[in-house]
Amino acid sequence: MNSGQIMTAQLENGGTIDFVLDANAPRGGMKHTFFTPDKKYAVQFFNNPQDGQNPNIQDRIRTIVGIYNPTLSEQDGGALGNTEKTAEYFRSRFCWPVAIVQSPEFGIVCPTYPQRFFFGDNASTHGLNLKGKDKKSNWFTGRMRKYISSGELGDFRTMLSAAICLSRSIRRMHQAGLAHSDLSCNNVLIDPQTGSTVVIDIDSLVVPGKYPPEVCGTRGYIAPEVLTTMELDPRDPRRCLPCVSTDLHALPVLIYEYLFLRHPLAGPKIYSPDSAEEDDFLAMGPKATFIEDPNDTSNRPQDLKITIQSLSKGLEKLFLRAFVDGLHNPSERPTAMEWERELLKAWDRLRRCENPHCEKKWFILRDEREPVCPYCKTRVTDKIITLTLKSAMRGKQGVYRDCGEVVVYDQMPLYDWHVYSNVHNDEKAGNDMRAYICKHNGMWLLVNHGIEGMTSPTGRLVPKGQAVELKDGAVFRMTDRENGLLCEVSAI
């Protein structure tokens, strides 16, 4: 192979794409990767050319590039119901294959992931040369974190944001019936600074009705039932193959790693005195035990200080469902949508720690009556202002139901989903700031930045640029327009 030589690949859609040959092309388990001269696209071929000729694999990949593609609008041949806006949203969150190579051999073309998922200069404080390397999440969540510059590490808030981003991407996949089948620290890159993730290696998805891919997953992320039955013949009905419910094991493992910087199953318990291999098999497979299992503390590390009880009650419950009830019972695992929803609720309870030296900087306010940062134990001295957002019940004059709670902080932005009951914080919502919170001369204000029809507690119009004071017990309309939310203030 002549490294540096430029080759032209013929695409199935009639186009061509140039790529640069490289004898040291990055090589994964299934494929190796070349890049276009401008490095905007990766051109990937199978390590085993027979895989590329396999009609089952080709067929599956064609549907992934086409009718299951959430990064392409329905109009352009992508997923059903996908608009250009949602397609655009997911383009930066998935590295989704965009074309199929016909010759020199069967292969796929993927966009290269955004620059923020590659390390830049000075990423390591300990002389590691990371420039240009992928930001695999275990750089940030594993023991090697200590060698990464603090500027790269983000804080608790950005890691929570990454968890939301990932759960949303997986929810979108599962919504279409697709399973990733190999979610892991290698296949989800993370940028803690911006709190974003990108899911890569999309070509081994499980597609409904198509021949399944031959991956079983990555150590630490494989669902216990898949590892346990890996030795069985693929046609054996007891054999568990990757599917949506196995993704629903890998997803909370990643979320747990993002939020706690440790693995939920890696504890001190010795499962087998015979060999490391047997011990590990039991620990990740048939005998897997959550390190925070409330009923079985055999795998609980002695020095466990920050636990799922440091998060919101909703997230605590979901982790218990994922790693206690659902660990060996796949149907009990929370769905990606539940994760997304609960993480968003936690996001609305974030509070900046008053200790300027707090390493995590932010925490989830679990209980207003016990407002303490779980990381540095600094007690909240400032007022805690909670907005309860309510929407009018259809057909019932004057009856409202709670549809969200927001613990505010100074300079907090508010968006459409804080204003209208029919907008949710998801890929369809816009991200223009509509209002913001501001602490001014000891007063807490909600400043209208772009809402038509905001009204004060006394019913007067609050024009843009003016504010409502957030006093305990105050009730006002975020807007008097259709689907406008009512806001109830509690200040303690």
Partner: protein
């Protein structure tokens, strides 16, 4: 939490006999440098792989004890003397016994060690002693690479079933060998989607290398 981390011990057994002097030994030094750089770019390898170097000429000795990659110091290598391959295997067996944690009822053991052996000649000492010694320790994969025309692949076959042959002892081939070693270590450190007790799958050998059947 670090107590629960299993290490992947990696032993490099390097021939430093007289025939390696000049370009080959320099290429080996460069190879180790490149290996370290490569592995330090991979979080899983960095977290699990521990490296040791054993050299052999007229005698064999461990020049770098099993060390985590971030603390690993490249050894001084000089070529000269004979090819004490049997002795090198004895040293390897001792090192594994002393350095690799075994699984017990109270201790998380290390993964089975990976051993890469590079030689360009035939043993000049008693190989049988070495073969006997390594029988008594558990290793995952031993990969032997016969470098150049004078290496004796039959001898290496007695040590392991995994024998590679590189035809020329050129700097380029040695560099390719070390690149492959780093690829193998990276694969082992993560692919332990391996079934218990089985040797891990290594990537295909570099171009120009022949697997000795």
């Amino acid at each position: 939490m670090s107590d629960y981390i299993r290490r992947l011990p990696v032993y490099l057994l390097l021939d430093c006999s007289g025939s390696m002097s000049g370009e080959p030994i320099e290429a080996v030094k460069q190879g180790i440098k490149a290996l370290l750089t490569e592995l330090k770019g991979d979080p899983q390898a960095l977290e699990t792989a521990y490296l040791s170097v054993i050299t052999f000429n007229s005698t064999a000795r461990q020049v770098s004890p099993l060390t985590e990659l971030m603390l690993f110091k490249e050894p001084e290598l000089t070529a000269g003397g004979a090819t004490a391959l049997g002795g090198a295997l004895c040293v390897l067996a001792d090192c594994i016994k002393n350095e690799v944690r075994t699984s017990t009822a109270t201790q998380k053991g290390d993964w089975k060690p990976l051993v890469f052996l590079l030689t360009d000649g035939a043993p000049t000492d008693n190989l049988e002693d070495g073969l006997e010694a390594i029988k008594n320790v558990s290793t995952g994969n031993i990969i032997a690479c016969a470098a150049g025309a004078n290496a004796n692949t039959n001898t290496l076959r007695k040590i392991t079933n995994n024998v590679l042959m590189m035809n020329n002892l050129t700097a380029g081939d040695l560099a390719a060998f070390f690149a492959w070693v780093s690829g193998s270590i990276k694969a082992s450190s993560k692919s332990i989607d391996a079934k218990p007790g089985e040797a891990v799958q290594l990537p295909p050998p570099p171009q120009g290398f022949v697997i000795v059947p």
